[in-house]
């Protein structure tokens, strides 16, 4: 795999410093990091926890595609895309994206591109657990 890319799908807790340390580079002046966190509510309903599942080998392939596309589209040096699966509670971290670039605008743009595209294409699903029931997010139009 491209040494400028770090991709991970894991059932262990994600660590901010893993993604950060991977992308940090002497040639870079800025690092943009996006951290997704589990919110305590959605559309007015209290969320207890989220359960993430993935089609893991395909998810990794799609995340690699996003990283390769970000490297091609933006003047960035390194990118990390890490996603957790399994049960996560409020404030826990489903996703971390970190991008390092010589100039900061590229890092911001690439980081936003990566999370937007991940949410559209990567085969990972979350089920929201409420006090009274559960629902697959996005499953119904």
């Amino acid at each position: 795999m491209n040494e400028r890319i770090s991709i991970k799908v894991t059932s262990c807790p994600l660590k901010l410093e893993d993604a950060y340390n991977f992308v940090e580079d002497p040639s870079c002046g800025g690092i943009s990091v996006f951290v997704g966190t589990v919110r305590n509510e959605t559309q007015g309903k209290k969320v207890l926890r989220l359960d993430f599942s993935a089609y893991e080998p395909m998810a990794i392939k799609e995340m690699e595609k996003i990283a390769e596309e970000a490297l091609a589209k933006f003047s960035i040096t390194k990118i990390a895309i890490h996603h957790a699966i399994g049960i996560l509670s409020v404030t826990e971290i489903p996703v971390i994206i970190a991008v390092a670039s010589p100039h900061r605008k590229d890092a911001f743009k690439a980081c936003e591109f990566a999370i937007d595209t991940l949410k559209e294409t990567v085969p990972i699903w979350k089920k929201e657990h409420f006090e009274c029931g559960e629902v697959w997010v996005n499953a119904h139009p």
Binding site: P57, K119, I124, W125, W136
Partner: protein, 80 residues
């Protein structure tokens, strides 16, 4: 030909399984395969809001399904 089908998310719940085999006629494309599923699996209850991946890559409606392909039914994703 016998084809392995993987299911994810809401489709695992609807079909009550994460993997199963089906017998398909040769030269079937993805669009016809989706119609076949909807006609033959009443548990889907008309749920057609999913994409099809073949061998871990999104497939278009006119992709032809081949022997030994691994097919995955991909409901709308919600990662991140």
């Amino acid at each position: 030909m016998e084809i392995t089908i993987l299911t994810f998310g809401i489709l695992s719940d609807l079909l009550e399984k994460e993997e199963f085999q089906v017998q398909l006629t040769p030269e079937m494309n993805v669009l016809n395969f989706k119609q076949y599923l909807l006609e033959n699996f009443s548990k889907l209850n008309g749920y057609s809001n999913f994409s099809v991946a073949i061998n871990e890559t999104y497939a278009s409606d006119d992709t032809i399904i081949k022997e030994k392909d691994i097919i995955a039914l991909i409901p709308p994703v919600s990662g991140g």
